[in-house]
Chain length 355, copies 5
């Protein structure tokens, strides 16, 4: 879990707005794709030089530029000057340790949020930063690595499915946000399944490894929460933004994503409560097992200690011990007492519900 490190400190001492890539380099080459459309026209192409897009930002069509990989500082600098972005925005684009946030610069809006994935093998939640620049006629989306969450949207634009081709840039930005928030539900489902499995195991056969599984779940929930919680503010910020970038028609859709985000947060909170309830169960099952162990010990000791003493007495070498000479002392007397003592003990334990 390298999550505790942000490696933000690499920047300490540099002037603000200095462009330095912070974070893991998750993809080798940077890929730029351009989609340009309105209700009638549609164009999609891979692009090598970002300068090719600069003119499109003032045309009335919706221009969506998607960039996979954010370690190319030179590219980001060109984008900054081409689209007229504030140096602090560029700095944030390059830093993958951002908290989800929304900033409103009158002519464009800057949105950062987290795309989440799930590593089936390691049973671990992965996280990737997505930045959106929403301008009047363009949307810039920057991901850390190529992903397929946006493929559905590309498909819809290509085939003019739904209302996306009839709407503006704000709707496209909404659609991207919506795709990401919808993908959260899948992650939650997988975690929910894991919680159920662990919960069942807890009831049937708790063991020591479960403690670490519960602990892992707990810190995953912590991580999820940290990634999703601020998104609520981001979207409500978007909805309340005074700029004309967001139209009323899209506002209703944003309210919908807002509801979904709240639902995700609600689920995360219930999961957290469940996980901490599991810890309680685990801990008391440990106590219960200890109790069971102790009972076995006590039963054994309580039965055999008096018997041992009894046998010890007749192993003594006193000269005058008349019992030793009796004919039935051993087969009837001794074993009889033994049987009576053992039976008495067993009844006693039965009554105390130890057996």
């Amino acid at each position: 879990m390298a999550r505790t490190n942000h490696r933000h400190s690499r920047k300490a001492g540099l002037p603000p707005g200095t462009l330095v890539h912070i974070g893991e380099k998750k993809t080798e080459s940077v890929r730029i794709t351009l989609i340009n459309y309105d209700a009638e026209r549609f164009e999609e192409k891979k692009i090598d030089r970002i300068e090719q897009c600069f003119d499109l930002k003032d045309t009335s069509t919706v221009t969506w530029i998607n960039i996979d990989g954010l370690h190319d500082v030179g590219l980001i600098e060109k984008i900054g000057s081409g689209f007229g972005l504030h140096p602090l925005v560029l700095e944030d684009l390059l830093n993958s340790g951002q908290r989800p946030k929304f900033e409103d610069f009158e002519s464009y809006a800057f949105i950062v949020f987290k795309m989440l994935g799930y590593d089936e093998k390691k049973k671990d939640v992965l996280s990737e930063q997505v930045s959106l620049i929403l301008g009047r006629n363009f949307v810039l989306s920057i991901q850390e690595q190529p992903g397929d969450v946006f493929d559905g949207i590309r498909e819809r634009i290509r085939n003019a499915k739904g209302r996306i081709r009839k709407m503006g840039c704000d709707y496209l930005a909404y659609a991207l946000l919506d795709a990401v928030v919808d993908s959260y539900f899948g992650i939650l489902e997988k975690i929910g399944d894991r919680i159920e499995i662990i919960e069942e195991k807890l009831v049937s056969k708790p063991d020591e490894k479960m403690l670490h599984e519960i602990h892992n779940l707990k810190s995953e929930m912590l991580y999820l929460r940290k990634s999703v919680w601020p998104l609520r503010e981001v979207i409500s910020g978007l909805t309340r933004a005074e700029s004309e970038l967001i139209t009323d028609a899209t506002g209703i859709y944003l309210r919908d994503v807002y509801d979904h985000t709240v639902q995700v947060i609600d689920t995360i909170e219930s999961y957290r409560d469940m996980v901490s309830g599991m810890l309680d169960i685990y801990l008391s099952s440990v106590s219960n097992r200890m109790n069971a162990v102790m009972k076995v010990l006590t039963i054994i000791a309580t039965i055999f200690m008096p018997l041992g003493f009894f046998a010890g007495v007749y192993g003594m070498n006193f000269e005058y011990m008349p019992e030793l000479k009796w004919r039935w002392a051993y087969p009837v007397g001794f074993w009889g007492v033994i049987v009576i003592v053992v039976l008495g003990m067993l009844i006693y334990f039965k009554r105390k519900k130890w057996l």
Copy 2:
């Protein structure tokens, strides 16, 4: 407890507003009933084709259309175009994993909340989604399966009992909400009874199964809370709604439901506190039982170990052990010491309050 899964993810990647049924299919056929009334007139009938109702929505009478079963996507689509609903509303109607919410579209309002039931056999809280569309002259209510919570209201309308026939659509919507919130109290009572039973058992004879009962109660309270908590916001949203859909006269009634909802939430919170107090008691009763077990072991060991040693000493084979030859060594000396030691121990334990 399949509650951890929302199966919302089935939709990931589809355009927003796509109509897909999400959730369990709880009833086979979809049933539509129409009630149309004002102070003088009253009409009630089962309907096959929803189109029959479309004209009624503009008449001055109150039109209540109740739909049981929400998996019929075609029906919902027709309703959407017939009553002029936003595509996102339709999407929400079909998704049974909604969080209670209220949305104000000027010409109509959309309200979602949870109807709760209690499965006596499984001792489990059940939940069903109810959606209301409140228009100027119609109310649309959509349930997952036929239920009898609304029967009382139907009765009142039929017999013109109370003031319902004299009031408008907003009052009908209120009456539906009120019926559901009132039904919550019944669920709370049943859970309250279970809490009392478990609490009494905890005092009289705690056992290991109780841990799971407490855990189940806890996650039920969690579930209840998640279902009811947002309702508070929903109703206060309704009260503050600027639209003319809600009249002042109904506003007072809504304040009353609001109070009831707060009371339900209060009770849920007290129950949660009670349940977590029960966990504390359970855990310390486990410790207390362990203590009791340990005391038995210690008493037995403390009594019989010295005695055993004593017997062992006179089982030794040293040639020169004068005591062995004394006449009263065994019957008086040995047993006398034994009796004194045992009595001494018992007095000691009595003083330590172990016996």
Copy 3:
């Protein structure tokens, strides 16, 4: 503890505003007393038919009608029509499971709160609902059973003590509230005494019964809190009420009751913290006692197991065991070793602070 049940559900399905008594019937007959006064005049009488009071509500004198017992639905209905109250107010009057609340209907205000008592025998907090209707020239107070908390106020009115005879209805309502809030302090004192007693016992001789006492205290605090907490809102609502029912002069007095209520809540919160601190102490005293038990066991076992082995060795029947034949082997050798081992052990335990 029948506190978990609200029996609110008896009403589920009835139209809102239906008058049904909910709660225990705490008194047999309903008693109505009328006090009518201003600075000069004073009149006090028992009344049989509520209709006798209806004319007084418009005279300039202060009319205080006190009703003990709230199960008489017919009476409440008459009051409703006589004083022009909203049906929902009447419904709330009859339902003793209300949360403290304040509602402002322009021509009158409706206030509900809890009167608390303390059952010395069962060591239990009792609760009774008090409803006030504050009109322009009348105050209606409805209690579940006859009580003596208001006797002081009656006395003051009779004897024209203090400023009550010179002030209006709002001051009377304030005086009633104040009397109830002042009586809370007595309850808190009694609970405080119990907390102190339990705390002292915890230090001197903790036993298993204390767990249940602490648990009872805890759920009483929970109950108290639920009864008092909303009162704060009620009073601050009264102070901020826009209606002309409350004069400025009385406003200052309300601020005073508000301060007292906050003080009561503060004390309840400290008590809760104290009680949960006591649980911690109890639990660790259980652990400490277990530790003490274990030490006794370990000391006994550690001393007598080696000795027992030692004795066992010389009880063996090997032919060639030269020690057995030595003259001083038993009296000096054996017992010397025993004494040395025991002393060594004791010193060891002394050092480990086990003795």
Copy 4:
């Protein structure tokens, strides 16, 4: 700890504004001192009859009347009529169980707060109530008993040190508040020292008495918090007060006391966290000691039980036990096995890190 009792209940039933002294009588005689000053003039005297001060309240000089001891109801009544105070203010002056509060009566302001002391012997926090009446030309301060916290201010007034002689009544009131808040830091230091001492002991040699020390600390923090927390509101109320009693120049100083109060609250909160962290450490040190005890027991039992069995075997009286007759069976065979078993066990425990 008589802190749980407020003895407020003595008043229950009396009309509001009735003057009754509530609280301990902490001083025998009531002492009144008068300080009257402006930039040029200065006068200080002990006063017997409060009436002597009444004329000074309208002169332009600053008149500071300090009263030690608040059980003299007659005196308070005279003050009330002499300075024109509201009856509820007089009631609050006499009741030492007040929560810190600020009330703005246009012509004067009423401020109540707690002066704290520390009893070195009992290691206990003491509390005394201080009331301030801030009028346009006079300040009335009422303490429960003579104290020396205000001596510094008297000194400064006498010697015209600082700016106090040049400023008005509001500055004097500020100075009194500031003196009290500054004295809180001393209390915190002493508690901080105690926390450090206990923390060190916890690491070096935890014992059972510490539990009660920690518990005492905890309830002291609770008490401190209750006394100081509302002061924050009091001061911010003063700052925001609309009355002309507080000048802008003094406002800046009040902001400073506000900051100090927040700092005190912050420190109290950290101390609370520290103390509850200490409880965790204490509890797990109890577990660790139990573990240590159990290990000793287990090691002893694990070594001597097999050995004892071994010795027991050769103490048996079977006729045909060939080993008994071997020459080296006892000195080499028996003791050899014993040594090997013991060494094996020790190595095993070493590996398990139990030794």
Copy 5:
């Protein structure tokens, strides 16, 4: 950990605004450096007498005066009169136990915050107070001891890197704040590394020392939180400040520092959650180890107690014990039973998963 003491009390009793140095004296001599610049000009020098700077405060260039060491009361007094600062500001400058705060005096702003360091040897967080006075044409920064966090800014000013030379005093103040907040990330990284190391140890080999490490981490997180949390308010106060000291251009940068501060606080909160999760794991690992110890004891006792009894029986001296005379009783009968019992027990423990 001398953190519990504030030594603020040294001042109790002195008039407000009295200049007394409170805190450790961290550096011997006080060093004053002056940097004076605008877009064209740049001047940097060490200064002996603060009076040399007074004229510069009214020139249009940006004047940055940095003072290392704050125990020289005379110097602070001179600064106060030279720059026209309020006496309370001077008092705060000298007191190193301040809570981060922002105060707006129209002609200048006063900002206090904490610079954090990390002592690698003691693994401890260090803290130093930094005060900023932001005037219209000057910035005064006062540190407790010389540090290198501001060196990067000095470098940038010297070399006219970034936009600092083109911006005003507000940007310089921002840059100083930003440098400090950026340095927090480095501290967090180091603590994050420690958390990871402890977490790994917890899984592999937990021991008793870890409890104190976890406790130390916890109180460090507490300390960090206390130092950073108020900074959020400080910066948002700066952003909302009405004075003209902060230009809009700098406002955007302040929003960025604000985001970083929130990120720091977020990380601190996650760390706190992680650390308290670690405590849970530690505690249950203690229980698990106890369980393991108990199992060993129980297994040993359960096997050897019956065997011991068995051997004891045939060590008895009864005359009539026919088994003793059988030829194969010892080699086959006795040892056979032993082997069967031991095997039976082992299978039983295997099934119970104790082995």
